[in-house]
Symmetry: C2
Subunit: 410 residues, 2 copies
């Protein structure tokens, strides 16, 4: 007996129907926003990820040496690939708005909301310095969640690396990158553990002030209006104003910094409103990444959303689609009428209906039972009446059954 690997998923048809419905909704929102789909390799040189994330990433990847001696890896994220693709394409029209929804892999201990193999929706805009691109990306993320019925079930938390860096500089923070990393892990640490860790980077007399700053969250404008006016504050207030045009409301939260060193501006995370789950999605501005991959300096903003936490939240809130297969028609076949039955099935299939047919020459009773179990909406029984151009049509919900002409099958 063989088993699937831990942290990987077998998806059976009932579940897949629900997932496909969710995936289709996400796709259609991305396309409505004028984003264009791309597709990319699932395997890349490991160095591609080392460049962006350092040696640290290696132990979290499914990486190996291939038969040609190359260090390669299953992709743990899409950003390096997207940057590589962007650099490889000459004379590309800017802005570039790309999305995709590929599988990814991480060699981490599987737990709730964290799998070794998962799908991640990614959307990025390249080539726009202005905050309008940040707004467009945040609005897309929120519209996706809203379209899945989650409007009241999540909060979009926004912060800003530039403002935060100003504040940390004023507090004489020594190593900015390390400070962001520790702040990012704050929620997973005890307060004492956090204070111990941050003391290595912030002068002791400023720790309390830092804790206070990090605890600031709430109404976007209220928080920002407390700061002295500056270009950055005006830009941030403009972001919030533009988002209202998109019919979206975000909150400010200084504790959202995103651990990764490469963010250079706005950072954001969507969280379940109860705060029970990992982040639903996260992203921000990363204006220096394309350069890392040999391209010209290119402003960039984007986000990634895995499917695991999204599924958990939708199920918790009873918003996950019903896990149920169905077909429009099942064609039940009585002896000697297979060929006519198949002709009827073929016509309906070409009209776009999903049509299953008997393949086992079972009794009519057993065929009806099967039709019931695959949730056929209607059954067409092809018997001797077919010689005169008639079949029996049965509506499986009402149980109503009538003899109709073949050419009047709805």
């Amino acid at each position: 007996m063989f088993k699937k690997l831990r942290g990987f998923r077998d998806i059976y048809p009932e579940e897949m129907r629900a997932r496909r419905e969710v995936i289709n909704k996400i796709y259609s929102v991305a396309i409505s926003f004028g984003f264009q789909e791309i597709d990319a390799p699932s395997v890349e040189l490991l160095d591609l990820f080392r460049v962006k994330s350092g040696e640290e990433i290696v132990k979290q990847t499914f990486s190996f040496v291939d038969k040609g001696g190359r260090e390669i890896t299953l992709i743990p994220e899409l950003t390096p690939t997207v940057a590589r693709m962007l650099v490889a394409k000459k004379n590309i029209v800017k802005p570039v708005k790309w999305f995709s929804f590929p599988k990814m892999w991480r060699y981490e201990e599987p737990q709730s909301g964290r799998l070794r193999e998962f799908y991640q929706f990614n959307a990025d805009i390249f080539g726009v310095e202005k905050i309008y691109a940040d707004a467009e990306v945040i609005a897309l993320a929120m519209e996706i969640l809203d379209s899945l019925g989650l409007s009241e079930k999540y909060v979009m938390k926004v912060s800003d690396r530039i403002l935060m860096e100003e504040i940390l500089q004023n507090m004489d923070v020594r190593d900015m990158d390390m400070a962001f990393k520790i702040i990012d892990k704050k929620d997973k640490m005890g307060e004492e553990e956090f204070i111990d860790a941050i003391k290595g980077f912030v002068p002791e007399e400023n720790v309390d002030a830092l804790l206070e700053i990090l605890s600031i969250k709430g109404n976007f404008e209220n928080v920002l209006n407390k700061f002295e006016e500056s270009n950055r504050i005006r830009t941030l207030l403009n972001l919030s104003d533009i988002l209202k045009g998109y019919d979206k409301k975000v909150i400010w939260d200084f504790s959202v910094v995103r651990g990764l060193a490469y963010y250079t501006g706005i950072v954001f995370e969507a969280h379940d409103y109860k705060g029970e789950l990992r982040a639903l999605l996260g992203g921000g501005r990363y204006d220096n990444v394309v350069e890392l991959f040999g391209g010209p300096k290119t402003p960039a903003v984007g986000f990634g959303m895995g499917d695991a936490v999204l599924e958990i939240l939708m199920k918790r809130e009873n918003l996950w689609p019903e896990e149920k297969i169905w077909v429009d028609y099942f064609i039940a076949i009585l002896p000697d009428h297979r060929k006519e039955a198949i002709e009827i099935a073929t016509k309906l299939r070409r009209k776009g209906y999903s049509v299953d047919i008997d393949l086992m020459e079972r009794s009519l009773g057993k065929q009806m039972k099967y039709a019931n179990r695959i949730n056929a909406e209607k059954v067409i029984i092809v018997g001797d009446e077919v010689n005169d151009g008639y079949v029996i049509l049965r509506d499986m919900e009402s149980g109503e059954q009538k003899k109709i002409r073949i050419d009047s099958i709805p």
Copy 2:
């Protein structure tokens, strides 16, 4: 500068639009046939493939030892996974009709129609001994090709392992599996090389007769009617008759045997009508495979179709969709009207239109140029008229431009 790995593909938006159109057609035909979508891990234990294909498969896979010491592999085919999933699911309703369209990987030398990473459409029916399932699967394969406009561009070649084994037995063939393997490679060998190879298995006096049998191809009924009537011949003629109900016509070709040892009945391959390319798809009946994976004996028939040869053929025949991005609307924004423009975009997006907007505050001229390059069908210019409830609507094809009320945007 980083490069993608050899045999892998970067798919940019223009190409992806075309691929997505093809993929969607394939999906909708599979669903119209009452097949249900599944999804499965891209990584499995290597042993899963050893069981079915022997040690030979190992050198053709992207396989490695993971950080937990397990021998794992990127899947080179789907059948073992599907069999594993079937065995793991108790009390499943038969027949089972599953399809999926996952990525797969093979460590082979990349060449035309053969990549290291590719998509493969798979469809299988489990639980049906009767030839009706073979017909349903062959009809699905053909309807997919027909729906892509390929009706006149391919031939579906069918043969039968059972009939072929009878013939080979009558010729005193010693090792049936090896004989099938060599026959499968016949087209890639010279005639002399083939004769040398087959002599190890067929008595020399029967080689000519075998060559003659293998050269038999053509009208399905004509070929079979030359054989003495038997149950199997009747079954095969019945298959051909049923396929006519599906509006499909196949040809008989004894040289199609499919190399793999596990086929137990009907085998088939679709080939480009000019015979220039590798097989478009291949499949057949494999009634003993589920048992290999610890399940009860379960009749099975299915096929796989990679995306690479399909693409080459569609392009050769000018049937590949145009590689072009587009949006329904581009919203051009004049100074100080961003928020109103975004409100208009948001309304259109929610109606399902794909809508791009200016994010860069470029001049109207540059915005129009961008709209043109992303093939926007219409441009809405949001300027001062918006204060009175009006915008300018420009049809990009006709160049016609008019002032219309916001609430009358089509």
